[in-house]
Amino acid sequence: MVEEAIAEHYGEGEMRCPVHLSIGQEAAAVGVCDALALTDKIYSTHRCHAHYLAKGGDLNRMFAEICGKAAGCIGGRGGSMHLMDLEKGMMASIPIVASSIPIATGSALADKRMRSGKVTVAFIGDASIEEGVFHESANFAVLHRLPIVFVCENNLYSVYTPLRQRQPDRPLTNVALAHGMRAAHGDGNNLEETYRLMSDAVAHARCGNGPTFLLLDTYRWREHCGPNFDNRIGYRTEAEYLQWETRCPIRALHKKLGSGLAPQREKAMVEAITVEIESARAFARAAPLPEPAQASQFVYA
């Protein structure tokens, strides 16, 4: 609902930065983060909204950040692709493909050295395992049995390029297995399954048994970057999209909950969330822009 609000209002010109929406990929974010403690840490990519929210990131500060306001989670310095909320363990989002992977690995190394018992998650896309630094980090994480889970959301595309044009036809988990890493694979649009697989991976990591590569199948509904649907511009088919729409993670959950979620209760929840979103948007709109002089702050600690 948050991202639908972003999409709906994007054209108004208040949110003046690129947005990479996670609509269609919600269950992966929620299932993974629900299996974590507040003190566990996550690192994300350009597509970080869902991860930020699932880890408990502040909604007001998210909207303010996307609107470039001083009250943004990082004062308007990064915009949509750099969301973070340290109090919630949302450590950083880095929009250079795979760039957050070694950072997350180093985070796990720090926790291992401090014996903190914390687990780190690196959220990554299917394209990031094409980058060398993924392999460098995977090798190191296995070698040192680091408490980390590499959660790979395979949405089948990197921008407009399908997976089959970028990687040979083999299970993506083979890549992790070749590094000697534990691997698991599941339906990222199935919340329960994601949660279960993630819980296993977290337990494995917390006990000091090392990393897991958790591959989650999913699909992004809207364009790579921006608020629109783009099934008609030629890189993927409407039929493919419609097929994935039937696997909507939210509807699937809805169906599973069945009578467990009373219509009254659902209505109340939707209303409450709508109010929260509207109030966050209003907060962001009313918040002042940062002062130009702040642009030169925090170059050095």
Partner: protein, 365 residues
Amino acid sequence: MTAQAVSQERIITLADAIREGLIESFARDDRTFMFAQGVDDPASMWGTIKGIAKRFGEDRIIEMPVAENGAVGIAVGAALNGQRPVIGFHRVEFALLALEQIVNNAAKSHYISNGQHKVPLVIRMVIGRGWGQGPEHSQSLEPIFSYFPGLKVVMPAFAADAKGMLISAIEDDNPVIFIEHRFLHYATGHVPEGYYKNPLDGPRVVREGKDVTIVATAHAVLEAIRAADVLRDIGCSVEVIDMRVLRPLNMATIQASVKKSGHLITVDTGFVMYGIGAEVVAAVVGQNFSALKAAPVRLGLPDHPTPSSRGLVVGVYPDSLRITREVGKMLGIGDDKMQLALASLEEQRKNLPIDAPDPFFKGPF
């Protein structure tokens, strides 16, 4: 450098001084750890990490797979989470594979996070020349790293300063690129024992003078001192400034010196084009134009890669002879005096190989 006065006796190499700096820092703070390729390598990075792995153990001194970008990223991640890592690259060229992490994450995490993250990280990089290392093992790429706000770039010329600055770098809350010139590992100097810090505050006058200001980096500082010595003998007073810290650039000492001398020569270990000298000259011309009595001169590497053969490197590296000649030209020193100065330098250097460290640099400095 008051600490230096305490121990005028002890003379060690810059490599040993670095090793002592690492040991002092590691002994004081459990959050420090080191990534290196070859922690058990007998050559031990020119001796700079000799015995360290044994002393601190494999939890502190971690063998890094041959994965430079990963190493820096992992170190940055650890630094964001309260650790104080040190990485060593045997050649600056290897650090090029890590530019992505250095530029995007090390340099910017503090800025992007609105001051919430800090990156206390030291990356040692060895630059330099000699023994036919050739175009991809002997570059001096310090200007690349000096380009980026958020990084500190330090470049010691003297053993005592190397130790003191390294300890400061490890205690600094910013990512510090610590540049070591290969030849200088063998240079010796008075180095105090124990723990002390030299601030990463900027250039220092290492020879006082009033006729011309020579601003130099690392190994070039020693060449400049050698030139200053022979020029002194012919009555020319040269002020030599050791840059020490390339970023953040503090121009105050250089500007004060040029105001006094009116003459500026820069000598650095990198390319002349787009180099450190260009930045220094631009800053002086921009702010002290009227103090200048002659056009500044920049010395450095010519505009081609640095070849391997000792036949090909003749004239490639700016040395004390070239510096002396440039000073003579700039100040209009008479031929007979110049002949004297140059002859004395030529005599000193006569049988020295071009591709090995000059024994002149066996200080004490």
